[in-house]
């Protein structure tokens, strides 16, 4: 019975990079969540125009984070967790930093990819 209740593993679609559009598509000093396979990833375009991307799932209890331009930080509304724009957990309950994703820009197009560690 326990075996029955244990859900079978789902094949995770292997996604290694996602195109998110052209450089000017996102406003400076804003952020958005994109679908990276079946995972949410947060992409932030900083005030100086540079792009960064991190895993969108809070390391605390699984909520999805957002970019707050009033703080210039990544913020988690569930328990007020905050991360800086390097993904480091700077305040609130999150116990670990957000995993970083790579950003590449090719022919004016922004691509998010998994960084090899």
């Amino acid at each position: 019975m326990f075996k029955y209740l244990e859900p079978p593993e789902v094949e995770e679609a292997k996604v290694s990079n996602v195109k998110i559009g052209e450089i000017e598509d996102m406003e400076k000093d804003s952020g958005k969540i994109i679908k990276f396979g079946n995972k949410p990833v947060i992409v932030v375009r900083k005030a100086d125009g540079e792009y960064v991307a991190f895993a969108g799932v809070c390391t605390h209890l699984d909520c999805i984070v957002q970019y707050r331009n009033d703080l210039e930080q990544i913020y988690c509304a569930c328990h007020n967790g905050r991360y800086d724009l390097n993904g480091r957990n700077v305040s609130g309950p999150p116990p670990a930093p957000l995993e970083k994703y790579g950003i590449a820009i090719k022919n004016n197009e922004v691509i998010v990819f998994v960084e090899k560690t």
Partner: protein
């Protein structure tokens, strides 16, 4: 006609029994009504829940839409849904009040230990009902509340991971979670609840109502009782009417909101909060640092609540003074502490974000 039925089913015997039953009459009698109120609200839950089932669809793509359909298209659908939601909250409130009142009146003492244990089980299942039902409309708030709630369970050592998967039906909160919660909500919990409730009520019927502690020194003549039938029953019915009115006012004038549909790729909305009866635990967890010694903060929190809950559950076991006929002040202090703790943390939870 009465005779016809009575001959076959012995109604008089039943009435005789009901007439003999009595409820102690004193300052605290009012608290004896809350269990009955919780019972009424449970009946309302079952009825309104079954009505909701006629239209509700428990899948990721259609749950939100079907609830929306219920509250906008179906005649009186909004009302049924609002009644189910409000009555759920009132039921849990009534159950909490009921539990604390029997705690302070020490009605859990011998010979009523099992009544206390089943009652505690009922409260837990009621909270399970609330937690699982909350997800069913598949809206944003519910989605994140479920993520957080199940993730906390996942922090437990060893069993955490399998438990998380068991609850979610996978790694993440998805349509699979919704199916499971739906099953819990409309099949598993009603089954468990009904069995516990039956036991709880049978125990009470067999033993009668607990009498106040200091009555044992009173002479028979000074103990006052209200006959259960018809006097207490009528009063209880009056309370039921009041509760039904409160429920109707809440349900009609403050229809339950639906919010926006859950989107697994949208940030958690600002100001997200759990339901009020989880708030005190939720708020406490916020004060526990991420790491305590080498342990996960959440785990420490769960451990504290788990142990506290267990001690509370086992109170008839460790309270040796009350059954021996002595006053146990400690119990009263513990009770006051717990009530204050819950109220204060709940208020803080709503005031700060």
């Amino acid at each position: 006609m009465y005779k016809w039925i009575d001959e076959r089913y012995n109604i008089s015997g039943l009435l005789e029994f009901a007439k003999k039953k009595s409820v102690p009459a004193y300052r605290e009698t009012i608290w004896y009504y809350f269990g009955g109120i919780a019972l009424l609200l449970f009946i309302i839950q079952v009825l309104s829940g079954i009505l909701l089932l006629m239209y509700y669809q428990g899948t990721e793509d259609s749950a939100y839409e079907s609830v929306k359909y219920i509250s906008t298209k179906v005649s009186f659908g909004w009302l049924i849904r609002s009644v189910h939601s409000w009555s759920a909250n009132l039921m849990i409130l009534a159950a909490f009040i009921h539990m604390f009142s029997v705690f302070f009146l020490k009605s859990f003492r011998k010979p009523r230990e099992l009544t206390w244990y089943t009652g505690f089980g009922l409260l837990l299942v009621a909270m399970g009902f609330g937690f699982s039902g909350y997800l069913l409309p598949w809206n944003e708030l519910a989605f994140f509340a479920t993520k957080v709630g199940t993730d906390i369970a996942g922090q437990l050592p060893v069993i955490g991971e399998p438990l998380l998967k068991l609850l979610r039906g996978g790694e993440d909160v998805t349509g699979a979670t919704l199916s499971r919660f739906y099953g819990f909500h409309v099949a598993v919990f009603p089954g468990i609840f009904t069995v516990l409730l039956a036991l709880h009520l049978i125990f009470i019927q067999r033993q009668g109502m607990a009498e106040p502690e200091d009555w044992k020194d009173l002479p028979e003549s000074e103990r006052k009782y209200i006959p259960f039938f018809p006097n207490f029953t009528l009063r209880e019915l009056l309370f039921w009417l009041i509760v039904i009115n409160i429920l109707a006012i809440l349900a009609v004038f403050f229809p339950w909101e639906l919010g926006s549909k859950a989107d697994p790729f949208a940030p958690a909305p600002v100001g997200i909060k759990p339901e009020w009866y989880f708030m005190f635990m939720f708020q406490t967890l916020k004060y526990i640092p991420g790491k305590v010694l080498f342990l996960h903060g959440e785990f420490v929190g769960i451990a504290i609540f788990g142990i506290a809950g267990l001690l509370w559950f086992l109170v008839p076991f460790w309270d040796k003074r009350t059954p021996a006929g002595k006053r146990n002040k400690l119990i009263t202090y513990v009770g006051i502490f717990v009530v204050t703790f819950i109220i204060v943390l709940t208020i803080i939870g709503y005031m700060v974000d």
